[in-house]
């Protein structure tokens, strides 16, 4: 009995040793030079394959980082700790710190805009925008069918009252929604910005007033109450100068008292949309 156990152990051990040696020899003989650092970087990346870095996925990005083609901070999803750990592992510079987030620059929910036409087609913004510019009255506003929300790999966009609202704490700034929006309403802005002008319509103020209750009419009140250079004129509307430091804070919104209510902090914007009555049945005037 004892011998059987001994022999079994010996037998298995010898075979295992043999196979191990064979594998060792074979992998030496047939070794393909590969960079272990790629695996290392890949392990440190979030692995969401969102494509926010502009590469085909995390593996592709890892290769590019190891090859020195792009700095590790190009990954918009990784936190600064993750980026610096990648940089430390490779012994390279992390690149300058710049985090972004998306914001939908439109405040035109169903309560603020008119529904001009009866639309019962495909519930998708890209499809709707190709049919007479969609049902909402403003030809530049959010179509409210949630294409961006569906494209977001992180579930950071919520549709409230037919308006897309980005939850900044969930957004990593990968830009998938920016590419999806047929109206180009979504912009990537610095992550620490909190005040936005929720309007993207380039038309003249009276025309905007006809179609929307909360347009930017270009009155420049915000420019006067904010610091020099915090806002800039962009055609018939004002926009926040996101590359200017310091960015406007909540006190600017209070001081400006925007007459249409399109200058808001993110928190205010979300609170307004949340407070408004959800639309039960859309009453459509033909």
């Amino acid at each position: 009995m004892g011998t059987t156990i001994l022999v079994a152990i010996l037998f298995t051990g010898v075979i295992a040793l043999l196979l191990g040696i064979i594998i060792g020899v074979v992998s030496k003989l047939f070794s393909v030079p590969s960079d272990p650092r790629v695996e290392l970087v890949l392990g440190l990346l979030p692995g969401a394959n969102c494509g926010g870095c502009g590469k085909a996925g995390c593996a592709d990005f890892a290769k590019a980082v190891v090859a020195g083609e792009c700095p590790p901070n190009k990954c918009p999803v990784s936190s600064s700790e993750q980026v610096s750990s990648i940089a430390r592992a490779l012994g390279i510079e992390a690149g300058s710190e710049f985090r972004q987030k998306a914001v939908v620059l439109c405040g035109g929910d169903v309560n603020q805009m008119k529904m001009l036409t009866l639309y019962n087609g495909v519930s998708d913004c890209v499809s709707a925008s190709m049919i007479g510019g969609g049902p909402k009255s403003c030809a530049y506003g959010c179509l409210g069918m949630g294409s961006c929300a569906r494209s977001c790999p992180f579930g950071a966009i919520e549709m409230i009252n037919n308006l897309a609202v980005v939850h900044a704490e969930l957004c990593v700034g990968c830009g998938a929604c920016v590419k999806t929006c047929p109206r180009n309403l979504i912009k990537l802005v610095p992550a620490d910005s909190e005040v936005h002008i929720y309007c993207s319509s380039p038309v003249k103020a009276p025309l905007k007033r006809q179609v929307c209750n909360v347009p930017c009419i270009g009155c420049r009140k915000c420019m006067k109450s904010g610091e020099e250079g915090q806002f800039e004129v962009d055609g018939f509307k004002i926009k926040v100068a996101y590359d200017h430091q310091p960015l406007p804070g909540a006190e600017v919104v209070d001081a400006a008292s925007c007459p249409t209510g399109c200058l808001l902090t993110e928190k205010q914007h979300l609170a307004i949309e949340r407070a408004e009555k959800p639309v039960v049945e859309e009453e459509v005037a033909s």
């Binding site: 011998t3 022999v7 075979i15 196979l19 191990g20 064979i22 594998i23 074979v26 992998s27 393909v32």
Partner: protein
């Protein structure tokens, strides 16, 4: 042992009647995991055929030796009880070696099969094929044939299922059934369909 082995029975039986996934319910994990797209299913199917064939060949070789009685230091020993341990060892090592060699010699084939090979290393279908061969006491040729055609059977089931799942993905499915739920139901119906082959051999 052999002599009157019916090779036709082994092959057709392995593909259709005793299909590894749909009748023996082995290898269900990769069957569900890699059947989302037809092209990956094709790659996985190819890899399984390949691995099952060489694994069956190698294990039957070893098994031939195991079944003979060994005399060791004056003791007569029967080491058949070691077969599962040894099979695992051999299959894992074999797949590892093949993967390394493939990577060097045939990069395109490695690209097609490479990511699936480690998945199969400890797949129960491969183990099962070796085990069944040992149980039935098949010779080397019969065992290799059985391994190959079991792999083909697996690939067939995988391809059919991948085709179904590509269609499933386009259909509007009630929420509770979405995803894996409807996949499992479909797999069950597919298995029932394969029941129709029973009795051929």
């Amino acid at each position: 042992m052999e002599g009157n082995t019916n090779y036709l029975e082994i092959t057709i039986g392995a593909v259709l009647v005793y299909n590894f996934v749909l009748s023996r319910f082995m290898g269900v994990c990769p069957f569900l995991g890699v059947s989302k797209r037809l092209d990956t299913a094709l790659g996985m199917g190819g890899a399984v055929i390949f691995v099952m064939a060489i694994a069956s060949f190698a294990t039957s070789l070893v098994y031939q030796y195991l079944t003979t009685e060994i005399e060791f230091l004056g003791h007569h020993l029967n080491l058949v009880f070691l077969k599962i341990t040894l099979f695992i060892l051999i299959i894992a090592a074999l797949v590892q070696i093949v993967e390394v060699i493939l990577q060097k010699l045939s990069p395109p084939l490695y690209k097609a099969l490479g990511i699936y090979l480690p998945l199969i290393t400890t797949n129960c279908a491969v183990m099962g094929a070796a085990s069944i061969n040992a149980q039935e006491g098949r010779g080397i040729l019969a065992a290799t044939l059985f391994g190959t055609f079991s792999g083909i059977g697996f690939a067939l089931a995988l391809l059919i299922f991948a085709g179904l799942r590509e269609r499933l993905e386009l259909s509007q499915i009630p929420r509770p059934f979405q995803g894996m739920a409807i996949a499992l139901i479909t797999a069950g119906i597919l298995a029932m369909a394969f029941l129709g082959f029973s009795g051929i051999c």
